[in-house]
């Protein structure tokens, strides 16, 4: 009954829309149209084509020879190890990035939120990598991490330690590109945390101090719990960003050594454009899309307001 009533009310409300409301709606659509058109053309149409290709045996060299293969591409993902291995490397990479970015970004935000001198300069310094192209960053780190002439190995040997292979060691390469990505993204995380920190009313920390809390206790009992939603948001943004990382694998390691940095997007790229297996690459893309969508939905569910201030 209630559902019917509610629908009735909605219908009645729609019917009651005044000419002015109708005109406003038309104007709104006119303003939205250019963006919607571009979105449709460059996002949703390719997305639909990709979804279709995921069920095809399809090569970019000879698109006309494409043929429907049902779920073969998806069953191949289970049959061969490449997807599993690439996803494992990607998740490990994302975990590394998040594990570095969250504490570091939070610490930087605390610093930027303080009244300490030089925070203006620090703000600029940490934001610089964020606005720098991933290609430039990757190239720069290639120089820094170079086994023979790199600056970092220079420091390592100056300290009397053995020269490190970094990007050419299967044990170190993934760690190094995770560190590099974290270095690039930490400023963004810090800015998000800073926004969260500045949204927490000052009186809460003051009330806690009056209640007998030390600065560390205020941080632990008040600030960090109140920033849980910001933290979750940063975790999700960084995870999704890391799952889609391409430049480090492409420019620094070629997915190697021994596929240790074969991130999923790079793997998709190689499958489609090097192996010329666009159908399988499309299926991998669909899988990635589902994963990212799942994470985003989980975030929205977890971020629903439980309390506010």
């Amino acid at each position: 009954m209630t559902a019917i009533d509610a629908q009735g009310t909605v219908a009645a409300a729609r019917a009651r829309r005044t000419p002015r409301q109708k005109r406003d709606a038309r104007v709104a659509y006119v303003f939205l149209a250019p963006f919607l058109f571009l979105l449709l053309l460059f996002q949703y149409v390719p997305l639909a084509m990709m979804a279709k290709n995921a069920f095809m045996d399809y090569s970019l060299l000879n698109p006309d020879a494409a043929k429907f293969v049902g779920l073969l591409n998806f069953s191949d993902m289970l049959y061969f190890d490449d997807a599993r291995e690439s996803l494992a490397a990607t998740f490990l990479f994302a975990l590394g990035v998040v594990a570095i970015v969250i504490p570091l970004g939070f610490a930087l935000a605390l610093f930027l939120d303080s009244k300490l001198p030089a925070r203006g300069i620090v703000r600029t310094i940490i934001m610089l990598p964020v606005v720098t192209s991933a290609v430039v960053v990757a190239t720069m780190w290639n120089f820094l991490l170079d086994p023979s002439n790199g600056l970092i190995n220079g420091v390592v040997t100056a300290m009397g330690l053995p020269r490190q292979p970094f990007l050419t060691s299967p044990d170190q390469a993934l760690v190094m590109i995770a560190i590099m990505t974290a270095w690039q993204q930490v400023g963004f995380a810090a800015i998000l945390f800073l926004g969260g920190l500045q949204g927490v009313p000052k009186e809460l920390a003051e009330a806690a101090r009056i209640d007998g809390a030390t600065k560390a206790q205020v941080l632990w009992n008040i600030t960090i719990p109140l920033l849980s939603r910001t933290t979750l948001f940063v975790v999700v943004i960084m995870t999704v960003f890391s799952l889609q990382a391409f430049a480090p694998a492409f420019l620094m390691t070629d997915g190697g050594p021994r596929d240790s940095t074969n991130l999923i997007v790079y793997h998709i790229y190689k499958t489609a454009f090097v192996m010329q297996n666009a159908g399988y690459a499309s299926a991998l893309s669909v899988l990635l899309l589902v994963i990212v969508l799942g994470i985003s939905l989980l975030q929205m569910w977890l971020l629903r307001a439980r309390w506010n201030y």
Partner: protein, 355 residues
């Protein structure tokens, strides 16, 4: 319980030209309910925050119970504070909010429970202990904030405009409750407000601040009846006191516009002295035209129920008189008023000090 004393307290903010507070001396007796009142920017909240330890004075000494506390952390001062915006921890339940300080102090669980339940009982929050602040009304949140202060059994309670976010009816109720709790706990209480009704109704002693200095202090009635300055006279009392420019002429007070009142008894004043005469709206009385000192036309009449506030203009000055509704004129009608000279407040026209 404790005495609070401020000696030569000053506060200057970097970049601000003048001192916010300069050389403030104040002693609050053990168990006293002291209200700091003044317009915004007078330094009352800053003074309270310095007592709390949330801000450090740039000069002077603060003592609580004889112990010097400036430079100590808030937690070392034996105080509790209720904030204007309640400052409840949104992620904690009512019980957790109230017990936060006790848990930090590592009190035994049984003792924490005893105190929280006791405070909740006093404040009528017993049924809400498991709720989050979001699920409470404004009045309930205010009670939780008070409960959080009470459970700590502090020596000094500090209130920073605790009622200004509540509606008028609730404000009246909470005012009574705060006074009741004070009387029961007999803790020293320092209460900051810009609301002169709160100041008048709650205080044992009111301190009126202006520009970081004490303008006057005393019991509410004392301040109301014998304001030391024109500022205090204008600040306390609602509706506000009327001020008229006056000159002493022929041994009487010439209020301009043909109004002449005898000098207040026992206050001889030199001939020609220029004064500001303060007349409270209730000090006016309707009079027959031949007996009245003030003859004017009512410009507006506000009916307040028990009384009516009649606005009129005298010698270019807007005035208001409280009258019985039955005797109040309508807007546009003539109004004839007398005023009791004994209820006049006189201030020097230049310094604003009472004469």
């Amino acid at each position: 319980m404790a005495q609070v004393s401020l000696a030569g307290i000053g506060k200057t903010y970097e970049g601000a030209g003048a001192n916010t507070i300069a050389g403030l001396d104040l002693d609050v007796q053990d168990g006293e309910f002291l209200v700091l009142v003044g317009p915004s920017g007078c330094g009352k909240s800053t003074t309270l925050r310095m007592i709390a330890g949330l801000e450090e004075p740039t000069a002077g000494e603060i003592r609580i119970g004889g112990r010097r506390v400036d430079g100590l952390e808030p937690r070392e001062r034996g105080i509790a504070m209720v904030f204007q915006n309640y400052a409840l921890y949104p992620h904690m339940t009512v019980a957790q909010n109230m017990s936060f300080g006790l848990r930090l102090a590592r009190l035994p669980r049984a003792e924490i429970r005893r105190r929280v339940e006791g405070a909740a009982e006093t404040l009528g929050l017993s049924g809400h202990l498991d709720r989050h602040p979001k699920a409470l009304s404004g009045g309930q949140r205010q009670r939780v904030a008070m409960g959080r202060a009470i459970v700590r059994e502090p020596e000094v309670f500090l209130f920073d405009e605790p009622l200004s976010n509540l509606d008028a009816q609730l404000r009246g109720q909470m005012r009574a409750e705060i006074r009741r709790i004070h009387d029961r706990l007999s803790a020293t209480t320092i209460y900051v407000t810009h609301d002169q009704v709160e100041a008048m109704t709650l205080a044992d002693r009111v301190v009126v601040l202006k520009d970081g200095r004490i303008e006057q202090q005393g019991s509410p009635q004392e301040l109301y009846d014998r304001p030391a300055t024109r500022f205090v006279a204008g600040f306390l009392g609602s509706p506000q006191m009327n001020f008229l420019a006056a000159t002493v002429r022929n041994g009487a007070l010439d209020l301009g516009g043909g109004a002449v009142l005898p000098l207040p008894p026992g206050r001889p004043l030199p001939e020609g002295r220029r004064l500001d005469a303060g007349i409270r709206p209730e000090a006016f009385a309707a009079a027959a035209p031949e007996d009245a000192a003030f003859h004017a036309t009512a410009t507006m009449v506000e009916h307040l129920g028990a009384t009516s506030l009649v606005h009129f203009s005298h010698a270019g000055q807007d005035c208001a008189a409280l009258m019985e509704p039955a005797r109040a004129p309508r807007a546009g009608q003539p109004v004839h008023l007398s005023a009791d000279p004994a209820r006049l407040s006189l201030f020097d026209a230049d310094s604003g000090r009472a004469v």
